[in-house]
């Protein structure tokens, strides 16, 4: 087991960390008989070790479901998931999962929340404590270390959660929309911090998002998912050199190319969901395509 000490401090040496995840023809359904709902269908992909893989897909396509399967809290209906060649049978210390709905413990202060992981593993060391201090600074919560979660704003809670996850140094880090709900400014700061952390630690990261800019800024490779029941629709390698810079990325041709490609795929998938989705949105799409058509003629 790697220790907390290395989390942010040691750069290259950690590059060779293990943590390859292979998902092969995984299916997941809920309910029985006529009520069965297929959420994931024959889904295969590989999360390569030491890479930051980002999954993007329409809302409600089944991303969080996949996360629960990876975390081991639920079992796939079919197919298999292997980490380092071993099948996933339950939650394990080799993976750290930050769930979409995971929450700070309301009965612990910000600091105690952040230190929870190391303490639970009996690693309440000087190094862990100084790492906690550093993280408090990074997420801008130093002044709030002794406050309870209910005293923090929504964005602050999110940042505290992030710090609580990042203090640990698992082989694999799995994050489900961790920056959801942050304002644009802190979101960008978090992107920068998170990608730096990834670059320094070189551990395997799997990141879920619905935000295309976030995806492109962070990803080594991008998995674009289909609508429910979800599958990998396309894999895009994002070969923009690191460290990346947000400002120059706006004018980066390659980034924009990828963005367009991803957006059009996502758009197609999003359109599919309108069939059973909102009438208003369907109207919108219809009006919009009609307008484009008339324009072309």
């Amino acid at each position: 087991m790697s220790t907390v000490v290395k989390a942010a401090g040691t750069p290259t040496s950690a590059k060779a960390q293990a943590g390859e995840i292979v998902v092969s023809s995984v299916g997941k359904s809920y309910g029985e008989g006529q009520f069965v709902k297929e959420v994931v269908k024959d889904c295969s992909f590989t999360i390569e070790r030491g890479k930051l893989t980002v999954m993007i897909g329409p809302s409600g396509c089944g991303k969080s479901t996949l996360i629960r399967l990876l975390a081991g809290f639920e079992k796939p209906t079919s197919g298999s998931i292997k980490i380092n060649g071993k099948p996933v049978t339950g939650p394990g210390k080799d993976r750290l999962v930050l769930f979409q709905e995971s929450a700070l413990f309301p009965w612990m202060t910000t600091y105690d929340n952040i230190m929870y992981g190391p303490r639970a593993r009996g690693e309440d060391t000087k190094e862990a404590r100084s790492l906690a201090e550093m993280l408090l600074d990074k997420v801008g919560l130093r002044a709030f270390r002794k406050k309870y979660p209910t005293q923090l704003s929504g964005g602050m809670q999110r940042r505290a959660e992030l710090a609580r996850a990042m203090i640990n140094n698992p082989e694999v880090m799995i994050l489900d929309e961790p920056f959801r709900g942050l304002d644009a400014m802190s979101k960008e700061l978090m992107w920068e911090y998170y990608s730096r952390l990834y670059e320094e630690s070189g551990r395997t990261n799997f990141f879920i998002t619905t935000d295309i800019d976030e995806a492109i800024f962070l990803a080594d490779r991008l998995l674009i998912m289909t609508n429910v029941p979800t599958q990998v629709r396309a894999v895009v390698e994002i070969d923009i050199p690191r460290p990346r810079d947000l400002v120059s990325l706006v004018d980066d041709d390659r980034a924009n190319e990828v963005k367009m490609e991803a957006l059009s795929l996502l758009h197609e998938e999003a359109m599919k969901s309108f069939a059973g989705g909102s009438k208003a949105a369907a109207d919108f799409i219809e009006a919009y395509s009609k307008r484009l058509r008339t324009k072309k003629e």
Partner: protein, 465 residues
């Protein structure tokens, strides 16, 4: 119906303002990475606006003319009337775009949501029809912008990001948009109690309370001593009871000045104290295990549920057979109902804990035992203390029943013997004392609870301000 907003409408933007608009547009999702020329063309049909907190920007059903881009502040966007979606609330911040109904076809330009400014907001309003016109100059860009609008709308209408915000009841406060807290002094249980008292004193409540008491006592006095209503004639009158209670030389031997009075109080308090302590010491662990271990619950809970509804009085014979003397049976009877209340509420407390907490602990490497200690116990605490408050209440309730049946001394005993020995005013003294002492013990439990749950204290104090 469309309201033209009185809010400080500014004059046509100068080119400098246009430049600013361009810069702001660049930061929004639909207008990122599109050509400068196009942005300028869009900026030309845009106007900056500002709204004060509380101002309604538009309502569902209004005609939709403009698309809005938030520059600063916050706007609450409540989507409520589409048949296929649940009511959904989103707060828009800098860079967010809303009001896209303005770019729909002519007949569809109706607001589906209500937008309200929650924090003084500056927005850019872009005329929808003009925007479409400008965009159509460059179909390629139009496609990009439109597909981004589509993505945004999907996000709004598609499966809920908001569903993730649907909260378990025990988390309501934490998920409410928390105010950015001002650093404050250390809020202790005592401080909170004092704060509550001072707030209470400043509210109309003390007055109402006094009025309530006055009405009650007045009715007592009038019905018994003045009107002498048929059913009330035999009852001890208000003045008789109080005269006796404050008398240095009470007719029936019980008043503030007699040691017997305090002995009776002490005996009852002691019995309740012991019973309550035992009920807590046994009930809390039992409840925790019932909630925590499914197997344990399958064994124990059915028996528990069968015994729980049996009234205290039905236990009297068994209690007397089981325990010798007069003290132990009374304590046992007092203990019973308390124990059930505590165990049941504790169990419910464990069940109320959101699974995301246990999962988070699991993921952070906590062992089963650690999850129990760090999540289950503190998570159930609010329910445990609710249970304990109920428990003190029922302890007093059962105590009096037990003291009336068996036992010596104690307030229940006083009330009962006063009746048999025809010392009616003493019944009044006993009852009022019982009420007061019961209230004090219940308040004590609450204070202890507040001081043990600092995190809740803060939560509540914050909510109350």
């Amino acid at each position: 119906m469309f309201r033209e907003h009185a809010a400080s409408m500014q004059s046509r933007p100068s080119s400098e303002a246009e430049q600013l608009i361009v810069r702001l547009l660049k930061r929004t999702m639909p207008f990122q990475v599109i050509s400068e020329g196009m942005l300028q063309s869009v900026a030309a049909v845009s106007r900056p606006f500002s709204y004060r907190a509380g101002e309604v920007i538009y309502r569902a059903g209004d005609k939709a003319d403009d698309v809005y881009v938030v520059v600063s502040g916050a706007v609450d966007h409540l989507l409520s009337d589409t048949p296929t979606t649940v009511e959904r609330n989103r707060v828009m911040h800098s860079g967010d775009v809303f009001g896209w109904a303005a770019v729909l076809g002519q007949d569809k330009r109706v607001r589906l949501a209500t937008a309200t400014c929650v924090e003084t907001a500056e927005v850019i309003r872009i005329n929808g029809a003009a925007l479409i016109e400008r965009l159509n100059d460059d179909p390629a860009t139009a496609k990009v912008v439109m597909s981004r609008f589509a993505t945004m709308i999907t996000r709004e209408f598609g499966a809920p990001a908001a569903a993730a915000q649907i909260v378990a009841p025990n988390r309501t406060v934490s998920d409410a948009p928390a105010a950015v807290p001002r650093p404050r002094g250390h809020a202790t249980g005592l401080a909170l109690t004092l704060y509550r008292i001072s707030r209470w004193l400043r509210s109309p409540k003390p007055f109402l309370m006094l009025l309530g008491f006055a009405l009650f006592l007045g009715f007592w006095y009038l019905s018994v001593q003045v009107w002498k209503l048929p059913r009330f004639r035999e009852m001890p009158g208000l003045t008789t009871v109080f005269h006796e209670w404050f008398s240095k030389n009470p007719t029936y031997g019980l008043s503030f000045y007699t040691p017997e009075y305090y002995q009776d109080i002490w005996v009852s308090v002691r019995r309740v104290g012991i019973a309550f302590f035992l009920a807590t010491a046994l009930g809390v662990p039992l409840g925790l295990f019932l909630g925590w271990s499914r197997t344990f619950r399958e064994y124990v809970f059915p028996v528990f549920e069968m015994l729980r509804p049996i009234p205290v009085l039905a236990w009297v014979p068994l209690a007397i057979l089981m325990f010798s003397g007069s003290e132990t049976p009374v304590i046992f009877l007092t203990f019973l109902a308390s124990f059930f209340a505590t165990a049941l509420n504790t169990m419910l407390g464990v069940e109320s804990i959101d699974e995301s907490y246990t999962r988070a602990a699991d993921c952070l490497g906590a062992s089963k035992m650690q999850v129990f200690r760090h999540v289950i116990v503190p998570g159930a605490m609010p329910y445990i203390f609710t249970g304990l408050q109920i428990s003190v209440g029922v302890a007093w309730f059962s105590l009096v029943a037990a003291e009336m049946v068996s036992g010596q001394f104690g307030l229940g005993y006083v009330i009962n013997t006063s009746y048999t020995m025809v010392r009616y005013p003493t019944i009044g003294i006993g009852m009022i004392t019982l009420g007061a002492v019961g209230y004090v013990t219940s308040a004590l439990v609450r204070i202890v609870g507040d001081s043990m749950m600092q995190w809740r204290v803060r939560e509540l104090a914050l909510g109350g301000r």
